[in-house]
């Protein structure tokens, strides 16, 4: 049955090359922890992606309960933490995932850096990776505000004041982020929500796609 469906699709769109691109390639010995245990450092990138998947999944489910509104944001988080079965675990996954992803990202970056794997011809992929790092930090910053508790509110206020210090465009930048010149409130929350849930993830997907396509085209860097 499955085979028939596969054949039906394959006949029309020729799946073979797609499959080849994704999965059908050889992995060299030096990145395989089964051969040299020290090769576990090559796992950090994959694990980072894995945590990103956790973040996307848990985030999708959290929006079933969360509302980005100053009256209800905290209440909805409190409600899901206390009343909904397993919701505390899901929020825990998102909360801890946000920290773990930064740790993994750092380890992955350090591995690439100390191995000099960013050298020609992989300069582009390194820059895409650093941009991914920035997007992640942006996701962390915007996500921190969403529960609308005290630490979120005051940390965001500090962050916005820092944005204001930027020369020439500081004030405009702050208003753009906060939605109001002086209030950190309802409009700030909806903006941060939009950035956290739509804008930055969109950037993340594009950059991740480029990151992976470049890896597949260039192959993994050789051993030192």
């Amino acid at each position: 049955m499955l085979q028939k469906i596969y054949d039906w699709i394959d006949e029309r769109i020729d799946l073979q090359p797609i499959w080849r691109d994704i999965a059908d390639h050889e992995v060299p010995e030096h990145v395989n922890p089964a051969h040299h245990f020290s090769a576990f450092v090559y796992c950090f990138g994959g694990l980072t992606f894995f945590v990103v998947v956790i973040q996307i999944l848990s985030g999708m489910f959290l929006t079933m309960y969360y509302v980005p509104d100053i009256e209800n944001a905290w209440r909805s988080v409190y409600y899901l933490q206390t009343e909904v079965a397993h919701a505390q675990i899901v929020r825990g996954m998102h909360h801890w995932g946000a920290s773990v992803v930064i740790v993994m990202l750092l380890l992955h970056t350090l591995r690439v850096f100390f191995q000099g794997a960013y050298k020609k011809p992989r300069e582009l992929n390194w820059m895409v990776g650093v941009l991914l790092f920035f997007v992640m930090l942006g996701l962390g910053f915007t996500g921190y505000l969403l529960p609308w508790d005290n630490k979120a509110y005051f940390a965001t206020q500090v962050g916005l004041e820092m944005a204001e210090q930027v020369p020439f465009i500081g004030e405009q930048l702050k208003v753009l982020l906060a939605g109001d010149a002086s209030i950190v409130g309802a409009q700030t929350l909806t903006r941060f929500f939009a950035i956290h849930v739509f804008f930055l993830p969109a950037a993340l997907f594009v950059l991740l796609a480029v990151h992976f396509i470049l890896i597949r085209r260039q192959g993994i860097s050789g051993p030192l």
Binding site: V53, F61, N72, S76, Y78, L80, E83, A85, H86, M93
Partner: protein, 171 residues
């Protein structure tokens, strides 16, 4: 196909199955909590709203259906509010109190007693001309397919207390 190659296929298949197993384990570990959270409203026992004093004395209820309105506290997740409810209340020939929900069982419009002059002694729904007898039975040939729902009711100290509306026959 040589013997050697056959063996390789089995090995590859074995790895594929293991891969599926590990993948399934990871997917389960990842999804079990989110899915449980998502389906929580289905599994949550809907707490019965309890009976509320609607502020009508039993003595005021006549044989003629009259519309009464009251408010109930509603907890919708993190949002608590007061919602309006209404009912048509009368005493039937056995002197029992009947409280009918005004929600038409066709598509949820609001019916009213003798809402159309052509149909005396019937509940009338203006949306699709649905009609119900006094006891809530739907008039055959009109759109509604089941009788009007009745409220759970109780009389305490001469006052009428109403609960949730249920389909007739269940309540």
């Amino acid at each position: 196909m040589s013997e050697e190659k056959k063996q390789q296929v089995t090995r590859r298949q074995f790895l594929n199955y293991t891969l599926m197993g590990v993948g399934g384990f990871m997917a389960a570990g990842l999804l079990i909590s989110p899915v449980r959270m998502a389906i929580d409203p289905i599994l949550k026992s809907t707490d019965e709203g309890g009976l509320v004093n609607v502020g009508v004395s039993v003595d005021d209820i006549t044989n003629e259906p009259q519309r009464i309105d009251w408010k109930v506290e509603q907890v919708d997740g993190w949002y608590e509010s007061e919602v309006d409810r209404s009912a048509w209340v009368y005493k039937n020939e056995n002197d029992e109190i009947v409280a009918l929900s005004p929600t038409c069982t066709h598509l949820g419009c609001v019916v009213s007693w003798e809402g159309n002059e052509s149909y005396p002694n019937q509940f009338f729904c203006p949306c699709h001309n649905g009609r119900f007898e006094k006891d809530g039975t739907n008039v055959p040939g009109t759109p509604p397919l089941e009788p009007l729902h009745t409220y759970e009711l109780e009389v305490r100290d001469g006052m009428l207390f109403l609960g949730d509306a249920k389909p007739q026959g269940e309540a």
